[in-house]
Symmetry: C2
């Protein structure tokens, strides 16, 4: 089922990018760029991620002249075990909190959940936040990551940054128009170095169901954008949509993992990944293009590999998920 | 803010308990009791937890003569890193999925999220599921757990089991009446062997806000029940409510961590914990008492310690959270 909303609006989004991310093509679109030293003045890398996420919320509230008490709900998630970055960030605010986990699809999961609280006017203002930190993710998921070790060309590079967005039921020029919640898709892939292949079928299933449920053609959207499939996953999705669903999305489709970095020039292999990858691209460049009305109808489709080192060691394949959110400029 | 619902009903709940849990006072109330061998025919303990959670959903659907396609949404979470038990369980169903994490407050988090989707009639049937497995939790959070090692008397025992509930917007005799989403409370406690003390202030804050927002006296409820504070945390909460909020909850208050086991007789120290602790007590004994109308108004207040081994090693204290859900029998 696909939900359509009449009462959910995007008020603002605040993006903090790491240095490597700022060296990419979107530098001018980020609100903040944090220093190359990935500790940001904290004692540990995990706390550096907490600082980024905390700052992204504080700066979002400040820019909108809002205090904690004006925000009815904070929804956030990240890749740290027990979503620690989000829990320890939420500790810094006096705001009711819901922790969520859908890996790199966390942002769209949060938007869908927030939209239902806003749609029935239970709440007026909801902040959704996410973050990732390259070295925290490498430590946790790929440890030991040996210096000079060989990386596969299909590997993606976990983006460093944080993003917080403000949704409201007070009218703005950009509305959250619809959401389609994803199902778990698992094609039996166990290769952690090819997450694009793992996640493309989940994105395909969700995009198909979203378009089908709303009886829309891919060209209804000015842009359909997935989260972090990377260059190989992006091509797999285009081919898969054509072959399995007879849909050609090639004309108006892109992937945030291919947009965040200057692939080929920057040492990021197949592109960017991490929950903040799609958040940084959507709420910096795409959001600003929508404010300029250069893009009017966008379908964001963040993609998550629900990868658990423990289950992978137990020879299990990687489940993936993807949630689609339709965002539209109002004339 | 506290949300009240007019359109959210409890249809059924299915509980699977481990042997130790079934040796407690609630044995007769569980739908299933799984064997003492905590592997349940699986190769690993993590997969044993996945089997329990999967079975609890399948058996819930079977008992209600429903198929995957009848369920609009599955919401679940657990204690495994990356909520792996829930992700791998959701892989077994063709149902849209949202993964959540609020540790042992996951059940009430799920009920609040599900209720807002149901309240505005986006969806008709939502399943919320959670589980925990004593040995999986010990391995992940307390490794190395040495044989014969000393345990503190304030330690709680992670319950083994799974619970899935079905919420609907079709009228039943029991409604989800209200929900109050918790804020993160952190009093600076770092003792992982005293989670009751960590979580009691979070429960107190949520119970106070719930009663205050709805202008209700504690005695409005036949029972106020927290999740897994244990015997010491339970007393701390009673004293804390009296001292800080001038509220006496002692007459109609209990804690699921004290109800699941026969404390003193069973080797569970201060009582039970884990996301399934409150789920097993609420959706076996309490639910059946409500169906008999022996309990008519119940406030469930599952409590979560958002404990991360990584951040604890970095000398951080433990944030906690608690969400309150009002459940009422309809005349």
């Amino acid at each position: 089922m696909t939900i359509q909303y009449n009462n959910v609006y995007l008020k603002d989004g605040y993006t903090i990018a790491g240095t490597y991310e700022a060296d990419g093509p979107l530098r001018e679109y980020f609100d903040d760029i944090y220093p190359k030293d990935l500790y940001f003045g904290e004692k540990t890398l995990e706390k550096a991620e907490i600082k980024m996420q905390t700052d992204s919320i504080s700066k979002l509230l400040n820019r909108n002249k809002l205090n904690d008490k004006d925000i009815n709900l904070l929804i956030s998630g990240d890749l740290q075990n027990q979503i620690a970055a989000s829990n320890y960030t939420a500790r810094n605010f006096n705001i009711p909190f819901l922790g969520i986990y859908n890996a790199c699809a966390t942002l769209s999961e949060g938007i869908s959940i927030a939209s239902s609280y806003l749609e029935n006017k239970n709440f007026n203002n909801i902040v959704i936040s996410t973050s990732s930190h390259n070295m925290v993710a490498e430590k946790q998921f790929r440890n030991p990551t040996e210096y000079g070790a060989y990386k596969h060309k299909t590997t993606t590079f976990t983006a460093t940054g944080a993003c917080s967005i403000l949704l409201t039921n007070k009218k703005t020029n950009i509305k959250i128009e619809s959401s389609t919640i994803g199902k778990i898709i698992d094609k039996g892939i166990t290769d952690v170095n090819h997450m694009g292949a793992v996640m493309a079928p989940a994105a395909a299933d969700t995009i198909y169901r979203h378009l089908h449920n709303l009886n829309r053609d891919p060209n209804y959207y000015d842009l359909i954008v997935t989260g972090d499939l990377g260059v190989y996953g992006k091509q797999i999705l285009i081919d898969y949509m054509k072959k399995v669903y007879k849909l050609d999305i090639s004309k108006n489709y892109n992937d945030c993992g291919c947009m965040l970095f200057d692939i080929g020039k920057q040492p990021v292999y197949a592109g960017a990944s991490g929950p903040v990858c799609s958040a940084l691209v959507i709420f910096s460049y795409i959001y600003k293009e929508m404010k300029k009305k250069k893009l009017k109808k966008v379908l964001i489709v963040p993609t998550g590999a629900l990868f658990s080192p423990t289950l992978l060691f137990q020879k299990e394949s990687i489940p993936s998920i993807s949630h689609a959110i339709g965002i539209e400029v109002i004339k």
